[in-house]
Structures are given as structure tokens and as C-alpha cells.
Amino acid sequence: MEKGERLDKNENKNNCSLRNGLIPNSNYQNHYLSREKGDGPFVLTHEEQALKASAATSDHDENVDSSEEEPQHEIVEFFEETPLWVAILTYLGYAILILFGHFRDVLRNWKLEKAPVAAEPNKEGWVPLYQSFESFYTRNLYMRIRDCWNRPICSVPGAEFNLMDRETPDHGWTFKFTGGTTKAMNMGSYNYLGFAQTEGLCADAAVEATHKYGCGMCSSRHELGNMDIHTELEELLANFLGVEDCMTFGMGFATNSMNIPIFVNKGCLVLSDELNHASLVLGARLSGATIKVFKHGDVADLEQKLRDAVIYGQARTHRPYRKILILVEGIYSMEGSIVMLPEVIALKKKYKAYLFLDEAHSIGALGPNGRGVVDYFGCDPKDVDILMGTFTKSFGAAGGYIAGTKTLVDYVRHRSHSACYATSMPAPVAQQIITSTKIIMGLDGTDDGSKRRGQLAWNCRYFRRRLHEMGFIIFGNKDSPVVPVLLYCPAKIAAFSRECLQRGLATVVVGFPATPIIESRARFCLSASHTKEMIDKALAIIDEVGDRLSLKYSSMPVPQFSEKDEDFKKR
């Protein structure tokens, strides 16, 4: 986009009302949050002093080999307000869609239009199984652009994959496979470290494990589903994470939803980030504890709620809470933002709360040693009471873990719903995790792990910087491998996805209800298996499609960071 246009938009900016809350860093100064770690230009508040103190102690972490490796990064998170005219256009878009939806519903009611979808036969006296109200959105908005999701693949989800071609004769109601396939660049899978591979150490080891242990288990950990491979995995992971002990489960989602209820219950308080993953929300709900939600990434709001909870106790009775558990994620998968861990740790220490950190997207992908956000900020893993993560992302496997002190993990072993009632993790999956963790830790005797990390870190910065320069509005931390590009208008969701795919780039698009209604976005997940050539190709495609769809909305100055200082990680 031309410079002139950008300037025009700059003027527009003053008309934008600022968003209070919902998203962190909400006023303009904070949009562009840039803080030197340690001696920043700001006056330090109490929290920051506490943060400094905790950072200082964490320097003694025995596993960090030398202080030169201490990452000297600034923490930069981006967020940009929706321009007013875009917001209006977006609402207009939805209004038209909803109007048409109602119109077509009327037609369908009069049998003038046929909806080729399985509907519940109308039976006298039976309450419909689900509200038609619930499906209005599905029927009239989602169906039209359904081809952008659930695209089946027929190869390994590596840097590139093969999509199965399908066509729809009736605008999204039904699909038919044509039998052909399309090769596309994969920026949709959570393959951060590129371990989705069909050959190499991991695959070979997994094949061997399949032959040795078979595929299934048919038993739980409390019964007969305990294999030596699980013990090996858990010891290795505890070592990797720098904690005393660790336990693994067969599904990441269930790791949250089936374990949070054992930590808190009635009379306890859960403080949950408003954008937390469904599994965390479900776990908190199943626990029976009081749930309070704080604004995404907003440490001040968290402190306010914590303080109130400690001072005023439970609602109505004012009895003190029995314990308070803070639930946060490392990297938020829709925002690309990274939790301000040192500040959260300082808070939880100040108010004696407990911290549950979900590292689903960050473990392996962040930090100089790949140990997630804890490593990224140089914090002490012992300051996080419950470390949780999943293996579906960076490890190219499946399942999840809970890690922490021996007391904690023993209790999990004893009490976890998953350990007692659910089948334990299949051996090939466990083996894939063992081998990939060894590679990440460098125990395989090569520098493959640190190369992957270096490539990913470089890719993140480079990709993000270039998108900023092109003028897209993107969210998140400069080091986050999840890169959301804002699309806003509902029509652009499908257009962006289809145009990109046509040019050979497969990406994820998301709209309401996964995002706020006007903040539809495309999301790119970077991987260590993407080379610079691929990234450049992808950027060219995004640039072209962005111009065609006029997506370059940004009116903020291009942030100053570069991928150059990532070089040290390549080694």
C-alpha cells in the first residue's frame, strides 16, 4: 500500500475510540509495549521490583549453562485498534448476511428453497434436540464458507502437505471428493518444531516401539497400563522441564479438564484469563470452584481481582477462600500473545495464590532451550506450581503432561481422573515424544534440536517483521510462532482462505464465535520446517492477496525489531 494512504489512515486513528479492556495494552501508548528487561526506561513499580528479584534468582537455574545465553530480548506485544470505518463495514457485512439469512429461512419455511441438510424430523410433543436458534448462524453464515475448514489432508502435515480436492455442488451443504489432490504449503498445522515427519530418528523409534509394544493399551495407569516406556518418558520430561516429577496423559484436552478439578473445589477461587482454552474453562467448571475471569493478559486486572478475593473472601459469606488458582496459557493460540510470566509469578507470590500454566503452544517452541515461556523469560520452573503442556504441537505426537514437585505429581498419580479411568498413552506416541524431547535437549548428540529452534525463532521474527512492513494488522508477541492477521469483514474470511489456497498456501481462518465478532482473522503457524524460500513465497502470496482484498489496514509505525539478533540461537 502507498505511503500516502497510510498517512490518511493515521489521521483516521484519532477518530478511533480506544478499546477498554478485552485485549491487553489497550491504550495507544501501550499498544506498543516495549520494555527492556532489567533496566527499562520506566520507573519500576513494586511488581516490577519483585519481578526483577525473581528474575535475579532464576539466573541461578542450574540448567542454564551460561549467562551469555540469557536472552536479551525486549518484550514486544502488538495490538492495534480496529479502524472505525472497518468496524462499520464489518457490522454492515454481518447485517446483510443476517438479513439474507432470515430471508432465506422464510423461503425455506415456505419450501421455496431446499436446504440439503439432515434436519430433525418434526415430531409432535418432542422438544427439538437442539435449538434452531443455535443453528441460524451455522445455516446461514457458516455453511456458505464451510469449505475453509475441515479440509482433509492425505499426507504428513509437514512444511507442505497434500489436500484432498473436494467440490460442493450446493454452496457448502455437501462435499464430494473429486479424487485429485493439491499440494500446498502448510501454515495451518501446529508443527512448530517440524517433528511431523515420516522418516528420521523419531519415526524409526516409533516404528520400533509399535513392534515392541503394539498400538493399544486397553488399561489405565491405575490398573495394568503402566509400561516402562511411560516411566522413561516421565523421567526424561521432568529432567527437560527442570522439575522434580511429571505425569503424562493420552490427550491434551483431558489433561486440563480431568486434572484441574483435583486441585480446586468448592470454596476455592479460579482466576482465569478470558481467552483461556476451552479445556481450561471446562476443567475449572467441573471443579465446582468459584470462577472469576480477568482481562486477557492484563496483569493489573488480575491483581485487582486477586486482591479483592483475598480481602473480601467469598461472595455473600465473606469466608476467606481456601485457595486461589490462577490459570494462564503460555502462548494464546488465537492472539499470538505471550503471557507476562514474571509479573504473574510476582503477583502469585505476593498474594500466595497458586499458578497453573498451560504451555500447550509454547513448550518446545519458545525459549533458548525450548522449555517454553518459563525458559523464554528466564524464570525458575519451580515458581510455577503446576506446569502443563501438550505433545500435539511441538512434539508431533499426542497427549499432555502435568509437571511440578514430587508431592504434586504423586497426588496427580493418586487422584487424577485420567490416571484412574482413561486408557494410558499408546507406546508409539510415547516413543515419539521421548525421541523428539531428546532431540530438543540435544541428547541425540547432534545440534538438530537447537537448529530447529533457531530456524523457528528466525522465521517468527522475519515473517512478522515483513507482515508489519506490508501494512497488515497483526497481533501478538514478536517471538510467537502463532501469527494472527486481521481480516475483519466476514466476506474476507472465505476470500482470503480461498485465494491463498489457490496460490498454494494453506492457512487457518477464524471468525465468530472463535473470535470477537468483528475481529475475524487468518492465523499462520510457523514451523522450523519452513525454509526462508518458503516463507518468502508465502509472504509474496499474502502480499498479493492482501492487496486484492485491501487488507493492509495498519496505521501504526512499523515496529523496530529484527531477526538479526536471533542469529545467536542458530549457533
Binding site: 478499546r19 501446529y190 509400561m227 484436552f253 481467552l275 476451552a278 486482591r307 480481602i311
Partner: protein, 492 residues
């Protein structure tokens, strides 16, 4: 991903249900925090709600005490939380089990348990699929094509052609319109129930259901009425009571969905649900019948199609059937099947389906191959039935034990005959029997329950799982070993 779907769910619920005023409040608060032009834009619509919000927040402020800063600081200083977790004693049986009962072989008919070869009567490998070489070969082939993990949920490039094939074959096998696969057996029914049953709805549920169903019901936040295990008279009593209430409040009845949730074959009791009678009640009282067939799938009926085949009930009359692929098929994950309009709904509202990565393709492939085996060798199921009946018959003659469960059931519960024992002491005796059997080369297991979390704690028992590949000699040996162990434990 879809981080907001649950919030939207709340919003939808709030608009639908009058009781959900707290959810409504939260939703509105979120709107309130949107930029001011959003507000202007939507103000006309939500003005009355804002009023509601205002009164709420006002009243909550009034309730707040006024404290000085010093007092506040003192309170923060003074508050001491309970420890995050209690200490688990070192001699906790579950801990000892996880630490010391370690298998280093396939969990097939025979296992190497702590270095000793044992006949495996503990894992739910009914059709002996674990350990079949064909399955492993195909799984490895799949691994070499797709890698291990699928690296994404079904919506975002995590759908692999193998998953589609798996769903198609399962639907075909069960004779339903559609099937949906989940990546975890436990998550299947636990996600399916809250996809339909919402706050304000009512669930009639058997007391003896497994933990996954209990969690699903809890997540749905619906009203629950439990009837005594397999007692249709008790169920009917509850239903007539409810019909009475409905007559009083016709308006509410018109929007309240009613569910009947049972297990096909109860894993905790080894008995089959009285399906024909349940069907009758279903039609009479207009209930949606959800049935979990995690144990009965692949084991009951002439060809392993489950309880519906066992009773010869048309499968379409059951609204939703779910089952785990982790038992009879010896793979990983679970599936649900039924009419398309039922199943399709889960593809956008099944939490465990939308928000979790899909099953590793190699394990889906293993399930496909196992299903093909089951289809092509129906005598597997016959053998299983014969073995179950045989073991049932023989074990019921062991003095000191009571066998619980139907004779066709591949799950048998062995309880101590003297039923007045305290739970802890009964558990200790059972553990002792298991220990002695293990020394004799038979791996058994005491059924494991979370005593503090179960709604209705089943009595202590040894849960025996029958395998279709057992021969008479092996079964006789099992009975003999159990007999010895029983005798020895009652003498000691």
C-alpha cells in the same frame, strides 16, 4: 482455537434460559467493555440489559465493606491458603501400583509384568486385537505415510483421509447414518452429553454409570435424576413424578429436553441394560436415549454390534450411541454414531472434538484394520461368549467369592462373598489375592475407583476381562490360581 466458542455458548444459553442470569451478566459485561463505538452501534439493542447490569453492579458495591488501606494490607498479609495438594502417603496402593507394577511388553494375552510372564486377565483386550501383527504392520505403514501426530484439530487440517475412512467404516458397521471419532475414549461421551443437554434440561441416568458419563452430565449443568441401577420400575417412578411436574408447568415442559442416559454393558457391574424396557419408556415419555457401549461394542450380539443387536432393537431407535475404541478394537480414541442430524451437531459443539487434536492417523488405521478383522471373523465374538460363559460358570464355584455380571459379559466382577466387610479390609484382601495370583503368573487387577469422586461407589471387586483367544487349559488355570489365592488369603 475457538477460544470463544464456549463464551458464545454461554451467550446463547443466556438468551435461551431465564435461569442463566449470571451468564447473561457476564456476556453483557463483555459487551460493555467493547470500544465505545461498538456500544453506540449496539446501544439501542441492549439498553434494557445495561440497566440490568447497572443495578447488579450497584447492589454488589453496596454489599462491599469499606476497609482502610491498612486493614486491606493486613488482610492480604494474614491470609493463608490451604496447601495446593495434600501429601499422598508412600504406601498409597495406586502410587505403589504406578511405580512398581510395570509392564515391558505388549499388553496382549500374555504380558511381562515386572519381568515375569503372566496370563493377562486385567486389560480390556476382549478380542485380542492388541498383539495382532496385521494391525501393527498396517499401523507402521500408516506411520510411514503420515508420521505420528496429526498436529491439529479436525477443523484446522487435522482431518486425515484415514479419519474419514474410519468414520465411514464405523457407521457402516453399526448400520447408522454417520459416525464421529474422538481422540480419547473418555472424552467421547463426556463431550457428547453437554453438546445437547444444557442448563435447564433434565437427565434421567442410571446410578451405575461409568465416570465418563458422570463427568459429561456434570459438564452439561442439567438437572439430574438418578434411578437405581438397572431398576426400570424406579425409573418409571421418577418419570411419572416428572410428568406430574410437567403438567403443572406446561410452558417449561415445552422447552425442556429429556434425556435417558445408560450404559450398554456396565463396566462397573458387568450387567446389560434392559434395553427393550428402556425403549418402551423412551417412547412413552419422549426421552432421548443416549447409550455408552464402550464395553459392549465388539463383544455383545451375534456379530459384535453391541446391545442393540443383542436385544434385536433397531439401532436407529437409540438416539446416540458412543463407544470407546480402546477396548475391543485395541486402538485409541472413541466414536459416536447415530442419525446425521444428531452427529453433525457435535462437529461444531462437541468440546473434545473441536478443541483437541485429532487421533494419530496410525492409531485410526489400527482401529480400521481391527474393525475389518472383527467383520471378517465373526467367530471371534462367538469364542468370546463361550469363554465368558465358561469362566463365569467355573468361577462361581470358587468358595469365598461371588461372581457379579451377566454370563455373556466379558467383564466379570469378583467380590468377596462375605459382604459385611469394611471397604478397606475387603480391598486389602482383594489386593492380596491379586498379588498371589501374580506370583502364580496370572495378572489380575482390583477395579480402580476414585472413592471421593464417584457418585455411587461400586463395591470393591477384582475385575476380570475375558479374552476370546483363551483356551480351556488357560481358563482352568486362572480359576485354579484364583481358588488357591482365595483360600490362602482367607487363611492368613
Amino acid at each position: 482455537m475457538f477460544n470463544f466458542l464456549h463464551m458464545c455458548g454461554l451467550a446463547a444459553e443466556a438468551t435461551l434460559s431465564t435461569t442463566a442470569s449470571w451468564d447473561l451478566y457476564e456476556t453483557i459485561q463483555a459487551l460493555f467493555q467493547a470500544p465505545s463505538y461498538h456500544l453506540v452501534f449496539e446501544a439501542a439493542l441492549i439498553l434494557w440489559i445495561v440497566g440490568l447490569l447497572f443495578t447488579k453492579s450497584y447492589s454488589s458495591k453496596v454489599n462491599k465493606l469499606t476497609l482502610t488501606d491498612k486493614e486491606k494490607a493486613d488482610l492480604v498479609e494474614e491470609w493463608q491458603p490451604e496447601p495446593l495438594v495434600p501429601n499422598v502417603p508412600e504406601d498409597d496402593p495406586e502410587l505403589i501400583n504406578i511405580r512398581t507394577r510395570i509392564v515391558d511388553s505388549k499388553l496382549g494375552k500374555y504380558v511381562t509384568l515386572n519381568g515375569q510372564k503372566c496370563l493377562n486377565m486385567a486389560s480390556l483386550n476382549f478380542l485380542a486385537m492388541v498383539g495382532k501383527e496385521v494391525i501393527e504392520e498396517e499401523a507402521v505403514k500408516s506411520l510411514k505415510k503420515y508420521g505420528v501426530g496429526a498436529c491439529g484439530p479436525r477443523g484446522f487440517y487435522g482431518t486425515v483421509d484415514v479419519h474419514l475412512e474410519e468414520e465411514e467404516k464405523l457407521a457402516q458397521f453399526m448400520g447408522t447414518e454417520e459416525a464421529i471419532v474422538y481422540s480419547y475414549g473418555f472424552a467421547t461421551i463426556a463431550s457428547a452429553i453437554p453438546a445437547y443437554s444444557k442448563r435447564g434440561d433434565i437427565i434421567f441416568c442410571d446410578e451405575g454409570v461409568c465416570f465418563a458419563i458422570q463427568k459429561g452430565i456434570q459438564a452439561s449443568r442439567s438437572k439430574v435424576k438418578m434411578f437405581r441401577h438397572n431398576d426400570t420400575a424406579d425409573l418409571e417412578r421418577l418419570l411419572t413424578l416428572h410428568a406430574e411436574e410437567e403438567r403443572k408447568d406446561v410452558k417449561k415442559a415445552r422447552v425442556t429436553r429429556k434425556f435417558l442416559i445408560v450404559e450398554g454393558l456396565y463396566v462397573n457391574y458387568g450387567d446389560i441394560c434392559p434395553l427393550p424396557k428402556l425403549m418402551e419408556l423412551k417412547w412413552k415419555y419422549k426421552l432421548r436415549l443416549f447409550m455408552d457401549e464402550s464395553i459392549s461394542f465388539g463383544t455383545l450380539g451375534k456379530t459384535g454390534r453391541g446391545v442393540t443387536e443383542h436385544f434385536n432393537v433397531p439401532i436407529d431407535d437409540v438416539d446416540f450411541i458412543s463407544a470407546s475404541l480402546e477396548n475391543a478394537l485395541g486402538s485409541f480414541g472413541g466414536f459416536g454414531c447415530g442419525k446425521s442430524y444428531v452427529i453433525d451437531h457435535q462437529r461444531l459443539s462437541g468440546l473434545g472434538y473441536c478443541f483437541s487434536a485429532s487421533t494419530p492417523p496410525m492409531l485410526s488405521q489400527a482401529a480400521i484394520v481391527a474393525l475389518d478383522l472383527l467383520k471378517n471373523t465373526p467367530d471371534m465374538v462367538d469364542r468370546l461368549h463361550a469363554n465368558s460363559a465358561y469362566l463365569h460358570e467355573k468361577l462361581s464355584r470358587v468358595p469365598g467369592l461371588r461372581v457379579v455380571g451377566d454370563t455373556v459379559s466379558p467383564v466379570l466382577h469378583l467380590q468377596l462373598a462375605e459382604s459385611d466387610r469394611k471397604r478397606a479390609s475387603a480391598m486389602a484382601t482383594l489386593r492380596c489375592i491379586v498379588q498371589m495370583a501374580e506370583e502364580e503368573g496370572v495378572a489380575l487387577v482390583v477395579a480402580s475407583y476414585l472413592e471421593k469422586d464417584e457418585r455411587h461407589l461400586p463395591p470393591p471387586s477384582i475385575r476380570l476381562a475375558v479374552n476370546c483367544d483363551l483356551d480351556e487349559k488357560e481358563m482352568d488355570r486362572v480359576v485354579e490360581v484364583i481358588d488357591h489365592a482365595c483360600l490362602a488369603s482367607s487363611n492368613s
